[in-house]
């Protein structure tokens, strides 16, 4: 497989870096080459936040994602800022409850699901990011559900292991959305 470049973007606190970390660990579990690069600095303390993840069979060159194959946008400014950069043929995943998807691009695929609302309805507080990941693996096939579960188990710290079933549930919600 060629390199898949993924960009995740949203507000600080929406779990952008965490979702990126899950994708990175999926790559690790899947025996791939990968890189994970956060925006750092003031973004970590609130405001906008984004994260680049590259997954490949080859060593990763530049870890900075400028033309994503997959964009995961969790707020309006992120969608507006990055949708123009998506590679032709790329896929955009976003929270349709928070984002009005206005773009004149016809060479990309848009997948909007009301992930925040779905999380709230299913008592999965803070699970919007994971629900979107479920949609991503269903529509792109980048990782299997099995690898995704392994990735989640790696990222969730032992002290919060009780939350793992909720994350699995969020993935399945996203896959079925």
């Amino acid at each position: 497989m060629a390199t898949t470049e993924i960009l995740l973007a949203g507000f600080g606190g929406q779990g952008i870096l965490f979702a990126g970390k899950i994708l990175a660990y999926c790559g690790l579990m899947d025996g791939k080459e990968l890189s994970w690069l956060p925006s750092y600095g003031p973004e970590m303390r609130g405001g906008t936040c984004n994260c680049s993840v590259c997954v490949s069979d080859q060593p990763i060159g530049s870890p900075l994602v400028l033309t994503p194959d997959i964009l995961i946008a969790m707020n309006q400014p992120s969608f507006d800022k990055f949708v123009k950069d998506v590679r032709p043929g790329g896929k955009v995943f976003f929270d349709s409850g928070l984002i009005e998807a206005t773009t004149d691009r016809t060479d990309i695929e848009l997948f909007g699901i009301p992930s925040q609302q779905m999380a709230d309805d299913n008592a999965l507080k803070g699970g919007s990011n994971i629900i979107l990941l479920g949609k991503v693996i269903k529509e792109t096939g980048i990782f299997s559900l099995d690898i995704m579960k392994k990735g989640i188990e790696k990222v969730v710290p032992p002290s919060k292991a009780a939350l793992i079933p909720n994350n699995f549930k969020a993935i399945e919600l996203g896959m079925n959305a």
């Binding site: 970390k21 990175a24 890189s35 994970w36 690069l37 530049s62």
Partner: protein, 352 residues
């Protein structure tokens, strides 16, 4: 070997502990802070000392003190903090002490910014402090090299009794990549002839000193040190040569920039342009033999850096100005993109 996923800063800290670093002194600064935070968490469990000093100046002087006793000691910072350490580094060099200094570079001058930069190349390779002295400078380009080079750095520091620097940048410090920790058996160096670690009235006391009031004595100490540097220049250079055998245009880049450039070289090759990459892993000593080997068939060289072109002079000197050396760079915290670099390759390569 088990693959771990770690940030460059954290992987470097873990490797330093495994390499036998027993004393870490530092002061927080973005984008290096995870390194100190990791040390704070792990060092005491590894039987060592972590101490957050009141300033960078204090931290480097604590390194001087710890290194005087013969233990492996390290400090880390980012660009403005490294400037503060320069006096201490000069004293460490003048006292012939082994120590490891990490610079996870950010944009400058002044407080600059917090995004990645390579604008401390001159500082690291030419003048990190006053007086006649050099540091060995390693330039990692991956999280794995953050690990491998810090192990090397401690060994080189002990072997030559001198300060050694890892010149990284914010991108390498912040990114996560798979990394393996090799079996690390730190070489044992006999420090009994100089370490000031307590004589118990059983031997002459050892003096750690950089003050020589008699010029002839000072001159001799400096000249002796430069004989050591000659050996290092002969034996310690290291570089990666990528697709250089038949290249018309040789790109030169180190650290994180070399990753971007490698992508651009691959893109250029796909378009039929014979590009290659020379990546120095040691910035001092500069890999003179290696760059001449890489450049033997090239018609032009192109240095790509996250600075205004600080490595260009070293390249010109190394190839003795036998070929044109062009430059492309971004600075202030902006990372050049493979697309930009490819454009430069085409622009320069188009005239070949």
């Amino acid at each position: 070997m088990e693959r771990n996923l770690m940030k460059g800063n954290e992987a470097l800290a873990e490797a330093a502990i495994r390499a036998g670093c027993k004393c870490f002194f530092g002061y927080p600064i973005t984008p290096q802070t995870e390194l100190a935070a990791y040390m704070a968490k792990r060092m005491h469990k590894a039987g060592g000392v972590f101490l957050q000093a009141e300033s960078e100046i204090a931290a480097i002087n604590m390194v001087l003190g710890a290194a005087s006793t013969g233990v492996r000691a390290m400090t880390s910072s980012s660009s403005p903090g490294v400037s503060l350490k320069s006096e201490g580094v000069s004293y460490i060099a003048g006292s012939d002490l082994p120590a490891v200094i990490i610079n996870v570079q950010r944009g400058g001058p002044g407080l600059g910014g917090i995004q990645p930069s390579q604008a401390d190349y001159w500082q690291a390779t030419k003048a990190l402090g006053h007086g006649d002295f050099q540091l060995i400078v390693y330039a990692p380009a991956s999280v794995q090299e953050m690990v491998d080079f810090v192990v090397k750095a401690f060994d080189s520091a002990d072997k030559y009794r001198m300060p050694v620097m890892i010149l990284a940048d914010g991108l390498l410090g912040q990114m996560m990549e798979p990394v393996s920790f090799p079996e690390i058996n730190p070489d044992a160096y006999d420090k009994s002839s100089w370490a000031a670690n307590g004589h118990g009235f059983k031997r002459e006391h050892h003096i750690i000193n950089s003050l020589y009031l008699k010029p002839d004595e000072l001159e001799k100490s400096v000249v002796d040190r430069y004989k050591k540097y000659d050996i290092i220049k002969e034996t310690e250079t290291d570089a990666e040569l990528y697709l250089t055998e038949d290249c018309d245009i040789l790109l030169c880049a180190f650290g994180a920039t070399a990753r971007v450039v490698k992508s651009a070289v691959n893109d250029a090759r796909a378009q039929g342009i014979k590009a290659g990459l020379f990546r120095p892993k040691t910035l001092w000593p500069f890999p003179v033999k290696e760059i001449n080997e890489a450049a033997k068939n090239a018609k032009v060289l192109l240095s790509v850096e996250m600075s205004m072109g600080q490595m260009v002079d070293d390249i010109k000197l190394a190839v003795n100005c036998s070929k044109p050396v062009e430059f492309y760079g971004r600075t202030g915290g902006i990372i050049p993109t493979p697309v930009e670099v490819l454009e430069q390759i085409k622009k320069i390569g188009g005239t070949l």
